[in-house]
């Protein structure tokens, strides 16, 4: 049987294994231990927080996760 395991890339260098067609954005963020004070873009399209639980990943997507840092 072919495996449903696929991967998504996160912030250009890390790859996270997902279950294609089942894993959601929330699952990936949980695995990365990232809280809600971030913004996420998939393939450069911002996904609003309310849509995270319903955003199913299919593999091959590029996730960008942004958070606050010190700055002037």
């Amino acid at each position: 049987m072919p495996s449903n395991d696929q991967w998504v890339s996160v912030n250009q260098h890390q790859k996270i294994t997902i279950e294609a067609g089942t894993s959601t954005l929330v699952d990936v963020l949980r695995e990365l231990e990232i809280d809600s004070k971030v913004a996420v873009a998939i393939d450069n399209q911002i996904v609003t927080q309310s849509a995270w639980p319903d955003t199913v990943l299919h593999g091959g997507e590029q996730l960008s996760i942004f958070g606050a840092i010190a700055g002037g």
Binding site: V38, A39, N44, I46, Q49, I65, A70, G71, G72
Partner: protein, 261 residues
């Protein structure tokens, strides 16, 4: 007599500020010193940047102490080189920090960090339409200040001198024109290196100043933060009280009767 405590609040987009000292969170040695300094400054508005989360390194949560102190967050678009970059950054910031306030800064030149006026105006126009409260970092250009105001920016943030240069109000003559003509708050941002510079900006009629480097890199940032708070308050009070006119001849303070006569 002025009743400063009651009447003299700064309002931006319906939000009241008792303190006219805005602060940045960059360059502090650690987050504890940052928190103590910002607390000593009594600032109610703080800036921060947005970056890709470092998945491997340690994640320093700068937001928790700011939110615990009830500070209003002003994310910036630092790193943006074009209007398109800045618009994307603003939308990311709105998602990450749950605020529609944005400090719009677009400076493609890494040496002097001069803000790009054309890209800034383009981005400001779009962001205002997208529902943001836009506070643009800009050169001390009176024409641009009016254009930014006309497209709906809620304040303008002209520079005193290049970011982090500590040179003070190099742009003073043009800041004065901006202040004279503005119908939105003028926040002098960048280049202020000493409390005396901040006091001077306030005496000129600036509505607020934004300080980061001068505070953060001081050997004692907490004391420096307090010094800035006092200077801003002092400068504001002097502006409201009304300064004397500058003349080139002496005008006696005491009666000029010759007491030996």
């Amino acid at each position: 007599m002025l009743d400063l405590e009651v009447t003299d609040k700064l309002m931006i987009s319906g939000h009241h500020f008792c303190s006219r000292l805005f602060t940045g969170t960059g360059k502090f040695a650690n987050s504890e010193l940052m928190t103590q300094s910002l607390s000593a400054s009594a600032s109610e508005l703080v800036t921060m940047s947005l970056k890709r989360v470092d998945l491997d390194g340690q994640r320093d949560d700068i937001l928790a102490p700011l939110l615990a102190n009830n500070m209003k967050l002003l994310p910036n678009t630092s790193g943006a080189k074009t209007a398109q970059d800045a618009i994307f950054a603003a939308h990311l910031a709105r998602e990450a920090l749950a605020t529609n306030w944005i400090k719009l800064e677009i400076h493609p030149d890494p040496k002097y960090l001069m803000p790009d006026p054309i890209e800034t105006l383009k981005a400001a126009e779009t962001l205002v339409k997208d529902g943001f409260v836009v506070l643009p970092y800009m050169h001390a250009d009176p024409v641009l200040a009016k254009r930014l105001e006309e497209v709906g920016c809620q304040a303008v943030m002209p520079l005193g001198a290049p970011i982090g240069s500590n040179k003070g109000l190099v742009s003073q003559d043009f800041l004065q024109i901006i202040i004279e003509q503005a119908n939105v708050p003028v926040i002098v941002d960048a280049g202020i290196g000493a409390p005396s510079h901040a006091a001077y900006a306030m005496e000129l009629g600036a509505d607020a100043v934004l300080i980061n480097t001068a505070m953060a890199v001081s050997p004692d940032p907490v004391a420096m933060a307090r010094a800035f708070a006092m200077a801003v308050e002092s400068g504001r009070m002097a502006y409201l009280a009304g300064l004397g006119t500058v003349g080139s001849q002496a005008i006696a303070t005491s009666p000029l009767t010759a007491f030996l006569d």
